[in-house]
Symmetry: C2
Subunit: 109 residues, 2 copies
DNA sequence: ACAACCTATGTAGTAAGCTATATGAGTAAT
DNA sequence: ATTACTCATATAGCTTACTACATAGGTTGT
């Protein structure tokens, strides 16, 4: 399908969190436990890669709710595909069992 | 329990692979799909941290089996504890569902 | 004989992740 | 009124992970 590159475990977690309805950086930190120094740079890279799109919350809204303005993120179609592909790949810890993955064995560095 | 530090996702995967009977670097690469440039440095750090112990295969054995000598690794008791603690923490992708982890919320950076 | 491949470990250099800190406005308590 | 806390985004600097390459002996194929 995609001739594109693999995404990291952390990137996949972030995309999945977005897919599950969490919509801004602080929210993702809360849901995942990842620190801000991981989440914000990762979101910037994901946007550069075209996997998410962002827009700032209107200042009026933020002021009305008495908090700093949020930056909202949405998954793109490519982002959704990359996430699904990654979920397929990062199943190791999930099963917490022998997992004798008889890997497809492509190239090895 | 342990006043010790968190280990990374990759480190946890490697410890778990060792716990499941894979015993040297190449074997771990095979089982996990992680590249050599990740696995060998990680094993060195895990040994420095006291989570694994290593010993070289005897040359006679390797020659008999017609291959390069392997470096075998074993989990220490601390390594086993660190792994179990990490498995508890890295469950996110596993469930592939909303996972509204109402995190203990300690300090945030 | 040489190419291509397999097992096995490793490093140099770059990209990504984490710790600690900063900023700034709001609320709450003393 | 100053301390402390919450929400929210962000970066500097160190650590970890990945890409690409190196080494080296063994086997297999042409």
């Amino acid at each position: 399908m995609s001739p594109k590159s693999y995404i990291s475990y952390t990137a996949a977690v972030i995309l999945q969190t977005l897919a599950n309805g969490y919509r801004h950086g602080f929210d993702i930190m809360d849901a995942t436990g990842l620190p801000s120094g991981t989440v914000y740079p990762a979101l910037r890279r994901l946007e550069e890669a075209g996997f998410v799109e962002s827009r700032w919350e209107k200042e009026i809204v933020a002021r009305r709710e008495q908090r700093p303005p949020r930056k909202y993120y949405d998954l793109t179609e490519e982002g959704k595909e990359a996430m699904e592909e990654a979920v397929r790949r990062y199943r190791l810890l999930a099963q917490s069992a022998p997992t004798p993955i008889r890997k497809p064995k492509p190239e090895r560095s």
